[in-house]
Symmetry: D2
Subunit: 344 residues, 4 copies
């Protein structure tokens, strides 16, 4: 931790800080510059990270030297981690995030009904997808919009898994549902709007079920890593990070997919990283180019929404790929994956 | 709802849309412009708001004509609403949001210990504050930071209420705590990071306890109103909206307080609106000028953090006002309140 | 300057940096922490501010300790500066920015024609405005929109000045017009889109004409101060800073007025600060509340657009105040000004 | 144009609008919905685009149906345009933007001295780059930073062109330099900070020299297209668009590269689109993954900065690639280009 004193800070101000630093069991190193005094604090930065140093008289700014995350950090865990998904006995091939294979997660936005879900599950399987996604519980901006089929949706997902052998991932919204979903699903998704729902993060962290953690619309990469740290700090190491677009002033797209988050996350953390270009762009015709970009930039997977009939979708129709478009994307992704030394 | 067709849309594309509109029980009015066909849909817009019209072939864009909120809307409820806080028998003066009086909510960020809380409660009371705030459950970015005293904190808050007669507001994080807090607290706060935690919104909406709903860091004014609509749609009309800064690229302040949200919210909705300049700016020296601005722009109240000793604060020390600074702000606010025809 | 080394930085990496620092005539102070080495550089920070220290092997991050601006900084010029506007002999009362009086600048967005301008000038004068604004050269997003009357507009402005005795401020777009405008106008405006047009900044900096420098839509407070530093570094000390809204994701307003920029700028710099709520909000009904907020937060003035007939305006009609609305705002502003110990 | 009336709009309000529409030579079509009246305007939308319709009494909002750009629009020019660069007789191979080949533009940020520039030019040539970039005039945030070599820099660029046969692109800052640069350079760059410097846009639009137009940090895709429309409307059709990152709240990167802008721009416009990952990310280690992403998403080229010795760079050292890193990137780009059916 580096503490920069104000130009008009007094020796008393300095001594008050130095006394506190000693009180906390740390050492201080004072640099007297031409215009400012600077204090370098030596010792475990975690001890003072949450101390309100900026509130001390005479302090201008406080600069942390170390990163606030540890369990998720590549610095402390240099090898890339793999997260294996598919614990349910009905799963035929487990999906492995973080390996050589680029994992494609696909499915409808919501479980709308049994027939459509089974249909889409087969489409995913046939085109080479590795994981089936669909929401049974849906977070919707409006209380008047379709809120998901709930438990019935979970039963359909289970049937789709048995039919295709694909593992399933579905969103968890309520801490009271975590236990059930940890047993039922092969992977739980924590959505963008819940990225800093710390109650939910702790709850999924206390299970062993793999977690797909989506970046919040207004959250920094550092905050995404801190939320992953929450989950890991409770004992669950199976976290996959997902970039899904951040909120900016641009209006052509629903959000702005931050492709540079992929190499940054891969450098900062050992956890697998995937991208969701469907929510990230909001338009089906932008999904394929962004999925291509994600794989080219080093993503470990992509997650996309498909629908047999987007005009009838109960949620997010405009961003859903038709089955034939999805198959087209899969072929295109395969070329790019090979160009970067990976497979699909 | 207005549907703009693409330049190359065919009559078949148009007819498919018109058929759907009729199927939904609505009427359509086609305008054939020089370059585009436009369809105006007549009837209850709510019927088609969640239909994926943009997914139809030939559609370029869809423009809603009506606002997606109704219960919170001033259009349907032209008089300003008042929200009365202080149901607990220990409360001496109820706080009324939305009336002539500007309501000042103040207190420490967290309940850190009994003595400090009682002390601060007296400070709030003496300086003319109307409501005591302090967090017993704290949402923290880091799992390693102080997470609040929990139930013990609630007991201290209750004691502070008995001591001063001030009603209390405290944050709710977990839907499993809603019932307890609805009974214990006079008002529940839903924090910025939970503004779109729809499970929590529904839970507080099923109580009668007044709710202080804070705007999320990346949420639009429309989304804030939709979240208030969630609460009201469950039966709880007692919602106070709180602007607390949005996330921008600016680095001098922690967030950018959107003062224009005050007149916009007052125009769009009948609900009371307050501002939190402590979290909005992140620096104690900016709290007073922003509180002044908020009252001048028409806010129904402000919420600020105070601390007897910010250097020792367990959370958010740099933004806390010392008791004497708080008293200074109260005098300054009184002048501005009077200048706009209100009192403190 | 503080240089934080990477965890895996070697002694060789460190020595290479230390050698460079000595080569630049500065001293280094190495702090060996438990996980990182940190180098504090002592001496004139300006020497190394533009050195690419982050490009050295082993360097993780570089943190400047000092602010990059000097001439605009309050640290080096603790008293607030006043900028006097009205050098033209036709001016009856000079406008003084930065004094006890809150300066109201008003006028139509563009000079549309002689009659309307003279009319509006009288309106400004009668309601107590101190400076007349109107654009002769207009920066427009579309090449097909009205681009201003040019020289003819300047002549009308001169006549309006003679008629009312009010000093005039008008926008400069082209470095080739600076000389002419410096002579003709009492104050030149550098618009938001030109805040980092460094050629233009240098050109206005070489005159003695007061400059109204507007913050760019995507520019930080620090960048605004650096642009003012550009002007002052060329010899012109007469700079007034203007907050006019920054670009965010919010859609109800055209921009988000950053009211906290006022106290931050007043703390960081000795230059006067005003606010433009017309461009900042884009809607006439939000102009008055934001002007009130600006004065309450300590602004030295406000600039607003007025129009006798907004439906006929050639630019920015929706944000223009009618003359009677302007008069209403002036009375309201007077109350707030008095509440904060100032006059209009 | 669609005009939505307020709920409380009167028949008089409506009639006033209808009269105006007729006065402008257009036709109106009124839709009377259950809660709002809506007016569809038929005829040339350009006639009313700049009319302040929102300023009329009773109007709630105005929605344009058509895009405000025409010359740059793919709607009116369905085939992709090619921009050929290399008119100088010393150029051996012209660079063609918008064809099958992905064009790599590379070079140092600034011309720092003759030797280094010639050296880097050879590096670009040998690794397969098609265009040499380097700034002679530099826009710098600080007046105290290196401002470029000016005319001497242009002479070195000319020599580098003769030595390698590569065409050259360099930034223009001052409208007074446009004529000279249009003759000297093969392509002129309009930088991000000048994207809405309309004086400069008009000046380069009056030449025939190809223009590399960079997106501003806070500018929407629509505004970028409008700035290109400015250039084309003056007669110069040779415009290449460049995405270079937009300003967001994220702090790990200097800007956020908006990769989705590539497919959106290619869909909306016939102009070629390239990406600058050096300025977009600000860190050399992110340049290669973002360049890969750009090509995978359909970019017609990339522009990157290289330096033989980034620690000595006079500007932007941290984002410069070493020659061997550049060569590595070129090989990686070639694979991705082939995967999407293109070459380098």
């Amino acid at each position: 931790m580096i503490i920069v004193m104000r130009k008009d800070a007094t020796e008393d101000d300095l001594n008050q800080i130095l006394a506190k630093i000693r009180e906390w069991g740390l050492k201080a190193n004072v640099i007297r510059g031409s215009e400012r005094m600077v204090v370098g604090v030596i010792g475990d930065e975690a001890v003072i990270r949450n101390k309100p140093l900026e509130a001390f008289p005479g302090v201008e700014q406080v600069m942390p030297v170390l990163k606030p995350y540890k369990l998720v950090s590549r610095e402390w865990h240099p090898e890339s981690s793999e997260v294996v998904v598919g614990k349910n006995h009905a799963v035929k091939d487990k999906a492995v995030f973080g390996g050589r294979r680029v994992v494609v997660v696909a499915g409808p936005c919501s479980v709308e009904n049994r027939g459509m879900l089974l249909d889409m599950a087969k489409t995913v399987r046939e085109a080479g997808g590795r994981l089936l996604r669909a929401g049974a519980f849906k977070p919707r901006t409006s209380p008047y919009a379709f809120q998901g089929l709930g438990l019935e949706g979970l039963r359909h997902l289970d049937e789709a898994r048995r039919l295709t052998g694909l593992p399933i991932v579905t969103e968890v919204l309520d801490p009271r549902d975590v236990e059930l979903l940890a047993e039922t699903a092969d992977m739980m998704q924590v959505g963008a709007r819940n990225m800093q729902n710390f109650i939910l993060l702790k709850a999924v962290g206390r299970t062993e079920c793999p977690v797909l953690l989506k970046r919040g619309l207004a959250n920094t990469i550092e905050e995404l890593l801190m939320s992953a740290e929450y989950i890991m700090s409770q004992g669950n190491p199976n976290v996959v990070l997902c970039e899904r677009g951040i909120r900016t002033f641009e209006k052509f797209t629903r959000n702005t997919v931050d492709i540079s988050a992929i190499p940054v996350l891969k450098r900062e953390s050992h956890l697998p990283v995937i991208v969701d270009p469907s929510h990230g762009t909001g338009h089906w015709d932008l999904v394929e180019p962004l999925a291509m970009a994600a794989v080219a930039a080093g993503a470990d997977g992509v997650m996309v929404e498909i629908h047999p009939n987007p005009e009838e979708a109960l949620s997010d129709g405009p961003q859903a790929l038709l089955p034939e478009r999805f198959a087209h994307m899969m072929r295109a992704l395969e070329s790019v994956a090979r160009a970067v030394g990976r497979t699909l």
